[in-house]
């Protein structure tokens, strides 16, 4: 079944076509979301939201772009929305903790890691460090970098997903790498891992 038939089936509410679509693209969507939110459970929940949106709004798909481009676009937008919501929640939580007092998160993390072997702790710390560095990137740089590194998309397709020019994608990825390198260098100098 090709893309057009698949979309036509979903537009008519055909569950079988929808199942095929999910089976074909679920890994791609979860991977894209994971590259942005860095949490597998959140990434799977987001991927489900993406597919639900596809099923609900399939009639709006005109077929100008590839189906994967549409999926990438929804996945990146939803992931960014989740990050923005989490940031807002954390902001209000920090206010609440300042005025009311809350649990010490540092001790919570160290409790969780207490039973892990040393090697895993280093891997986890390294992974946390990279995620923190990626999270500090501006949104557009983060999207371009994630699509390029996690999904190995060519610059042309990233330009289509982000609806920007090829030159802008090149510039975004170049700046993302520079920023990431700066942050990792800072971490290397401070020996944070």
């Amino acid at each position: 079944m090709d893309e057009a038939q698949l979309i036509k089936g979903i537009q008519q509410g055909d569950r079988k076509s929808f199942h095929i679509l999910v089976e074909t693209y679920q890994r791609m969507v979860v991977n894209t979301c994971l590259g942005i939110v860095h949490n597998k459970a959140d990434a799977e929940d987001l991927a489900q939201d993406v597919f639900l949106e596809i099923f609900r709004t399939a009639e709006n798909f005109r077929g100008d772009a590839k189906l994967s481009t549409w999926l990438y676009r929804i996945a990146t937008n939803r992931s960014l929305n989740l990050i923005r919501n989490n940031k807002r929640k954390r902001f209000f939580q920090s206010i609440e903790e300042t005025f009311i007092g809350g649990r010490n998160r540092t001790s919570e993390i160290s409790e969780n890691r207490a039973d892990q072997p040393d090697q895993n702790i280093t891997d986890q710390q390294r992974s946390d460090m990279l995620h923190r560095a990626m999270d500090r990137l501006p949104e557009k740089q983060r999207i371009a970098f994630t699509l390029n590194k996690y999904e190995e998309l060519p610059y042309q397709q990233i330009a289509e997903v982000m609806e920007i020019s090829l030159a802008s994608v090149e510039s975004l990825i170049h700046r993302a790498k520079k920023n990431l390198q700066e942050q990792l260098l800072d971490c290397y100098k401070k020996k944070c891992v």
Binding site: L34, G35, Q48, L185
Partner: protein, 141 residues
């Protein structure tokens, strides 16, 4: 003399994005500079995390959960559609009944028959005319 550190080029060196001349210069520098070699190794380990993380195994129940959410959504949608139709119909009926009741009461209140009845009942209540207070007080003596 030690050459200037080339930290800024290392991520592009790892991604093989440097020109041939620059790549040779970086490799030459790396042979001499332990600090840059250390940072290159650190950077490499950091970037390799992406390779380990990407393409995760998706939960085998992904579609089952999705399908359940879809059913739930269509059920609530159907329910909300029914509520969306029934609610205004019910409120319109209550409103119309209220207006009709109000009109009915209003028309009854303005009819002369009712006015008469009200007046007579008021007259019946006014029994001072029939039994003045003086005679009532005198009865007690």
């Amino acid at each position: 003399m030690k050459t200037k550190c080339i930290h800024n080029d290392l991520i592009f060196y790892l991604d093989n994005e440097l020109s041939v001349e620059k790549k040779i210069a970086v490799e030459k520098h790396l042979e001499e500079c332990a600090d840059c070699r250390g940072f290159l190794a650190f950077l490499k380990e950091g970037i390799q995390i992406i390779d380990r993380e990407k393409k995760p195994e998706v939960s085998p129940f992904f579609y089952t959960r999705l399908s359940a959410r879809l059913d739930e959504k269509s059920e609530t949608q159907a329910q909300s559609q029914w509520v969306r139709l029934a609610q205004p119909a019910f409120f319109s009926f209550v409103l119309l009944a209220g207006i009709y009741g109000g009109l009915k009461l209003g028309s009854n209140a303005s009819s002369p028959k009712i006015n008469q009845q009200v007046t007579s009942s008021v007259q019946m209540l006014n029994d001072f005319a029939a039994e003045p207070i003086e005679s009532f007080l005198l009865d007690g003596l």
